[in-house]
């Protein structure tokens, strides 16, 4: 039996509050923790079937053109090589998130340097790798490929739907007492999940089983089936453990389709692991952005106008474009507004979602601009933000579902010791180090996505939660287990959660921070139905039933669940869907970041000394895993602020730094013992759990706190991220150092 909820209105009751088990929200260890710590959690490449062959992809080395052919015979003659495959169904790039259908196919048409165009299959990995290196591709380069957003002849689209304006920003800028009009840039970023993409394909007659590293299995199944031209029913995807995603594994990627084609042709299982370099080149990048930001304010710092115009890029024909300005329409007040969005069409690695598409770079730069405004107006940066919190969504003129920015700002300032910050930059010195503090607001839109989950309560009082939802490190195993344990009154070890298998009810998938709320709601609904069935059998009203430690309690009766069930299993499916609530209120999560940095006056090197994040995301389902998500997001912010930058060769667009030696993720020593504070909040508009997403909130402005701290330490304002040593040094020298 399926019970359904559509979020059209706020929920009446906070049902979880009525429950008795007391596990939701607690900082419990992950149920999957022991497997991860012992190396027994099975990721995509960890379940290699006997007799499997290995496939290694070969890539195009031109920016655009055609693959005329490959010299297959020479490679097929190498020891162990079983096939060289070039197939029209192979993917140009991964599907975009939630596409549900195949992306552009056919390896003969080349759109970027690094595009996978052929697969060499051999008995061993070593043989396949050698074959792929040895394979000679006959490539026909097309003249006039455009590889950079600023190149001559670049085609720029200005989609009408993505432009907005209200009032008269130009006039507001003219009349402003204080104003900012600056252009900021962010470079290309990589998700760089630690597990590289990999797929193992195995056919059983016309049924395909694919073990892969994917975030959104119900969509991935449809995408894979569509790419292969087969019925979805004949595809099963398994991804019980996923070694990180951060957006890079939202859509089916080239290795999955290539593995499926090869396995079918050879009649054996085929594993196709992508190398780290191939992941950099052939998976999604976050587009570089150029952002013109205008802020107009009165003498009191209150904003009268905001302009945020972005230029991003992507391959020709790709629908996704980095939604840089997503939070700008509702973060701060101001009657006069301009939102602009342009897309340059370039022959570069496909652009797609990387953790918090939009806000990660958009809010960050807006928060640097706010720091500039604070400095210009002589107003404390925290105070400036407090003064500009709007009473309702100023663009759509609808109320906020809940709003904790002010509390996050005040509480953060308090805990961090913000009052010790010197307003004048460059005032604090510690030996060679200039020390400063910076802050920024955090904001991320909140979403709900359709999800289903099945819950079974067995007659012996154990529960099983099942959905094809994934746990990509996000804590899904923990929180779904907690929700079911809470609702059914069971200790944690009597609830098992199974994920990552498309044979199970389709969940939302992991993405956009909506996983916990969407799938959690589906589990909650299924449990509500089971509670109803228990009431029926127990003969009590829903509000009289207490479930705790495997017992049902009503009035003065307390009976073990097993007794009530009498040998029967209870099964229910929950189904959550978004509804009109999305249009009635503005839903978002908020927070604040505070950072203290030391900038070396001699070398220009920046070290983050302290960092704090204060976040509100509705009900926190597991305080331990939620905190970890925030640590991860803020560390992405440190990387964005200081080191992360992909370089494309201006001649052919190839990614120059396609490995971890040259693309600099923060390492342990770059990250201080970050503090995270989670505020109490309930959002009745979000879902019956009153919980919102938290996986991305930690990155949505974090880098600005670091960059603003660099300014406070040195007086140097970096507007082109990352704030590498050369830029800081140049600024220091310009100041007359």
């Amino acid at each position: 039996m399926t019970v359904h909820i559509r979020m059209d209105d706020r929920v009446e009751a906070d049902r979880l509050e009525d429950m008795a088990q007391g596990v939701v929200g607690k900082p419990l260890d992950r149920p999957d923790g022991a497997r991860k710590a012992s190396g027994t959690a099975a990721y995509a490449m960890d379940s290699l079937p006997d007799g499997a062959c290995f496939g290694v992809l070969a890539r195009a080395t031109i920016a655009a053109g055609r693959l005329e052919g490959v010299d297959a015979a020479a490679v097929e003659a190498l020891p162990g090589v079983r096939a060289v495959i070039v197939d029209e169904r192979m993917l140009r790039n991964p599907a975009q998130g939630m596409a549900g259908k195949a992306p552009v196919q056919d390896p003969h048409e080349i759109a970027y340097f690094g595009q996978p165009v052929a697969l060499v299959v051999a008995e061993s990995f070593e043989q396949a790798r050698h074959g792929a290196i040895a394979l000679v591709l006959r490539l026909e380069a097309r003249a006039g490929a455009v590889v950079g957003p600023d190149d001559a002849g670049v085609e720029i689209e200005t989609p009408e739907k993505k432009q907005q304006s209200s009032g008269d920003l130009d006039a507001a800028m003219r009349e402003a007492v204080f104003g900012v009009d600056q252009t900021y840039t962010t470079p290309v970023h990589a998700s760089a999940a630690m597990e590289p993409h990999a797929s193992i394909a195995q056919w059983d007659e016309d049924r395909l089983t694919l073990r892969g590293s994917y975030q959104m299995l119900r969509f991935n199944r449809a995408e894979l089936a569509d790419a292969l031209g087969i019925d979805e029913k004949n595809v099963r995807i398994l991804a019980p453990f996923v070694g990180g995603g951060f957006g890079s594994k939202l859509g089916i990627a080239p290795e999955a389709v290539a593995a499926a084609i090869a396995a079918q042709r050879l009649g054996v299982p085929v594993a196709v692991p992508m190398s780290r370099q191939q992941v950099f080149e052939g998976v999604m990048r976050r587009s570089e952005t150029t952002q013109r930001i205008r802020l107009a304010a009165g003498a009191d710092g209150r904003l009268t106008g905001i302009g945020h115009e972005a230029l991003v890029s992507n391959l020709p024909g790709e629908k996704f474009s980095e939604p840089v300005t997503q939070a700008t329409p509702f973060l701060y007040r101001g009657e006069n507004r301009v939102i602009g969005h342009r897309i340059a069409r370039v022959n570069r690695t496909c652009a797609g979602s990387v953790r918090a598409p939009g806000e990660a770079v958009g809010v960050t730069m807006l928060e640097i601009a706010m720091d500039e405004l604070a400095a210009a107006a002589g107003i404390d940066p925290v105070e400036l933000r407090l003064r500009n919190i709007p009473d309702e969504d100023p663009t759509q003129q609808i109320p906020f579902s809940s709003h904790k920015l002010a509390e996050a700002l005040r509480s953060g300032a308090d805990r961090f010791g913000w009052d010790r910050r010197r307003t004048e930059p460059g005032q604090v010195r510690d030996g060679e180090w200039l020390v400063g503090m910076g802050m920024a607001s955090a904001v991320r839109v909140n979403m709900l996505v359709e999800a289903k989950a099945r819950v079974s309560l067995s007659s012996d009082g154990h529960a099983l939660v099942e959905t094809d939802m994934t746990d990509i490190g996000t804590g899904t195993y923990a929180i779904l287990t907690q929700i079911a344990a809470e609702m059914l009154g069971l200790p944690m070890d009597r609830v098992e959660t199974r994920l990552g298998d498309t044979d199970l009810p389709p969940g939302s998938g992991s993405g956009g921070s909506f996983g916990a709320a969407s799938n959690g709601t589906a589990v909650f609904m299924a449990c509500e139905e089971i509670r109803r069935m228990i009431c029926e059998r127990f003969g009590c009203e829903a509000h009289d039933l207490t479930l705790k430690d495997g017992r049902a309690i009503a009035g003065n009766r307390s009976v073990p669940l097993a007794e009530i069930l009498g040998g029967e299993d209870l099964v229910a499916e929950g189904h959550a869907e978004p509804g009109d609530a999305e249009d009635k209120v503005r839903q978002a999560t908020y927070g604040s970041y505070f950072a203290e940095v030391g900038v070396n006056a001699v070398t220009g090197e920046t070290r983050v000394r302290r960092m704090l994040g204060v976040f509100a995301a509705g009900r926190i389902l597991n305080a331990k895993t939620a905190r970890s998500q925030c640590l991860g997001g803020m560390t992405f912010g440190i990387g964005m602020a200081l080191t992360e930058e992909i370089f494309h060769d201006p001649r052919d667009g190839h990614i120059v730094n396609r490995d971890f030696a040259e693309y600099h993720l923060p390492v342990n020593a770059d990250v201080p013992q970050i503090d995270v504070v989670l505020l109490e909040e309930r959002d009745a508009w979000a879902n019956p759990l009153q919980a919102k997403g938290i996986g991305e909130l930690g990155i949505c402005g974090a880098a600005a706190a670091v960059v603003n701290a660099i300014h406070n330490a040195t007086g140097v304002r970096v507007r082109d991220l990352p704030a590498t040593l050369d830029k800081v040094l140049e600024g220091l020298e310009r100041q007359g150092g």
Binding site: A34, K36, A37, S38, Y43, M194, D659, N668
Partner: protein, 169 residues
């Protein structure tokens, strides 16, 4: 070609292509898939194992170079039912999210604590002549060869500090 070695206390024989790395030999030939491949280039530490008592990147080493060696992998440190104290501390402190870098982190930390105990200095040791102290700064410096994109770094440091403080890994 044939390589005889001891893995987690057991004698094992690998018959493999000479190009096979120790990492791929463990994963593909011995089915010890706890050791992970994050880059295959010695840049991430996911493949860290303990060979001859020292932590190494197993992707940077050919299997055939380990004839006669003793290798310890994550499987040799503990099972889900019998976790080592350090593995338990990783669970308690949430020293991971996705868990992919975790076997490498734990192998690395296990050997790192012995290096620290043996008095090896690091980049942040102020006086290289005296025994390095167990500090957050030392631990975080010494663990910087193990990338974690989920960024459990603060929790990894907490887990290691707790166990090192107790004097047993």
């Amino acid at each position: 070609m044939r390589t005889d070695l001891t893995v987690n206390g057991q004698s094992r024989t690998i018959e493999a292509d000479p190009r096979t790395t120790l990492l791929d030999a463990l994963r593909h030939h011995l089915k010890l898939t706890g050791t992970k491949k994050g880059c295959d280039h010695g840049q991430c530490g996911a493949c860290t194992v303990i060979a001859g008592g020292r932590r190494i990147n197993s992707c940077l080493s050919l299997a055939c170079m380990h004839d006669g060696d003793e290798v310890v992998t994550i499987e040799g440190l503990g099972t889900p039912e019998t976790l080592s104290a350090l593995q338990e501390a990783f669970v308690r402190h949430d020293g991971f999210q996705c868990g992919f870098c975790t076997p490498g982190q734990i192998c690395s930390a296990t050997a790192m604590l012995e290096e620290l105990q043996a008095g090896w200095p690091s980049h942040v040791t102020a006086d290289v002549a005296s025994a390095p102290a167990l500090t957050v700064e030392e631990v975080s410096e010494r663990m910087s060869g193990n990338l974690c994109r989920c960024s459990a770094y603060p929790n990894i440091v907490d887990a290691i500090m707790e166990i090192a403080g107790r004097g047993r890994a």
